[in-house]
């Protein structure tokens, strides 16, 4: 049985990848490569390392497709989570850390992250933007700094001059609030029914 890759669901494509079906991986790349590369580039702010991370993400899927559990979320969420983790690893590598030491924490916290602009091009950009705007700043800023800045929550706490426990709680509750905001706007994150 050959898989019609263009018609196949993401989950079926992953099954085909498990059979070492290269066209299936190519189709997955066609569908999600742009989002993966875009996120890596945003975090790493440079093309060469972003391309390396993008390659690693898809080669990991090729090597270990069983790590994707279709019942725990969409393939895109899975790939983006892997992308984020790898990108953060790069950011936290020693060289990147040294480069970042030149910046003051306050500058980073207030000037470098404009999440509204960055999500503008999304297919659901308006709704996501609304959901973000509806978040109080004290919930929104820690998420931006941790997710797009690749910082640990302790670093974020230092940047925002807040207790670590407070930042930890605000990130969790901010994500929960954001999820509810998205659902209210008709965007159903994949795991909403779980």
């Amino acid at each position: 049985m050959l898989v019609d890759v263009e018609q196949a669901s993401d989950a079926n494509l992953v099954v085909a990848v498990a059979r070492w079906d290269e066209p299936a991986l190519a189709e997955i790349y066609r569908r999600h490569g742009g989002a993966v590369h875009s996120l890596a580039r945003r975090i790493l702010r440079s093309d060469p390392p972003a391309e390396e991370v993008t390659q690693e993400v898809f080669l990991d899927l090729w090597r270990n497709p069983e790590k994707f559990d279709a019942q725990r979320g969409t393939l895109r969420s899975f790939l983006l989570a892997r992308t984020h983790g790898k990108s953060v690893d790069v950011v936290r590598a020693e060289e990147s850390r040294r480069r970042r030491e030149d910046r003051t924490a306050r500058e980073t916290a207030t000037a470098a992250y404009d999440i509204d602009r960055e999500v503008w091009d999304m297919a659901v950009a308006e709704h996501v933007k609304d959901a973000l705007v509806a978040l109080p700043d004290e919930l929104r800023h820690p998420i931006e700094l941790a997710y797009f800045g690749g910082h640990t929550y302790q670093q974020v706490a230092s940047m925002l001059d807040e207790p670590e426990g407070t930042v930890k709680s605000r990130i969790r509750s901010g994500l929960g609030r954001l999820r509810r905001n998205l659902i209210e706007r008709g965007i159903e994150p994949a795991g909403a029914g779980l």
Partner: protein, 287 residues
């Protein structure tokens, strides 16, 4: 950390904002806590929406990926082969009388080998060829245990042919000379070697797992099940759940790709797509 402390970390964990030590603690907790695992998945979904700025996938990056696919296949095969056929095992196992003293290194079913449905495998030729060597080695393992504790099972298999649960076509298939009986050898490292179960496989692909009713696969506690796996082209695929107290369980192995070996694992109820557990019994289809 207790559950409540872990819960507080789920948001920062989902955003990769934890140090590696704390992240490892959270991951260990997630292995056994569905509630927390679901929450992390939900956070990932939300973060994925934030990250989704779209755009076309860069063609140049794909070129780099495609260039490495062949190599990764070989590497993955190497990992699987190492599990199924560990270094040090007698390479002379291709011969029928090769001396193999243990089945304890039979490997972990499915580890590194994603479960795929039968009948649709498109595999590179070199994989199939490499797999045949492993099957031969496994056959040699079976040669040692074959002949032990099989009479009772044979009686059960014969009874199966006359049983009311079969259609006339299935009875005819079982009576066919082409139908194979594949004894499954226990992998237990202690106690006497045993053949706790037999797979009966017709040429059409209909199969039956026949558990030895006088001391075969032991009953499992609540929440556990036996799971049957087939080795196809060197990879383990699930053939179905056998339940906690299997008797005679039918399964289908119909497809274009031959099953070259079988294994039974003890899994959580509901089964798994990829087992991390050592098989309790293994057998090879003689080639």
């Amino acid at each position: 950390m207790d559950h409540a402390e872990i819960e507080e970390l789920l948001g920062v964990y989902a955003l990769d904002a934890l140090d590696p030590g704390a992240a490892a603690e959270v991951e260990a907790h997630l292995e056994g806590c569905v509630r927390c695992a679901v929450e992390v998945a939900q956070h990932h979904d939300v973060a994925g929406l934030l990250a989704n700025s779209g755009g076309a996938a860069p063609a140049g990056v794909w070129t780099g990926i495609a260039e490495q696919l062949g190599g990764t296949s070989d590497q993955a095969w190497g990992r699987l082969a190492a599990r199924l056929d560990p270094p040090g095992r007698d390479r002379g196992a291709d011969s029928a009388d090769a001396t193999v003293t243990t089945t304890a290194d039979a490997g972990t079913v499915g580890a590194g080998a994603p479960v795929v449905p039968l009948g649709a495998g498109i595999r590179r030729r070199r994989w199939v060829m490499a797999g045949s060597g492993l099957v031969a080695a496994a056959a040699a393992v079976l040669a040692l245990v074959f002949g032990l504790q099989v009479h009772h099972l044979n009686g059960q298999v014969d009874a199966l042919r006359a049983g009311p649960q079969l259609s006339a076509a299935e009875r005819a298939a079982l009576a066919s000379p082409s139908t194979r009986r594949i004894p499954l050898a226990s992998t237990a490292s202690t106690g006497a070697r045993s053949t706790p179960a037999t797979v009966v496989l017709t040429a059409a692909g209909t199969g039956f797992l026949v558990n030895d009713s006088s001391g075969g696969l032991s009953p499992l506690p609540a929440g556990r099940t036996y799971q049957l796996w087939g080795v196809v082209g060197g990879r383990a695929i699930s053939l179905g759940l056998l339940g906690p107290r299997p008797g005679i369980v039918p399964f289908s192995a119909a497809g274009t790709v031959p099953v070259t070996g079988f294994a039974v694992t003890d899994e959580v109820a509901g089964g798994v797509v990829r087992s991390a557990n050592r098989p309790v019994a293994v057998g090879s289809v003689r080639v």
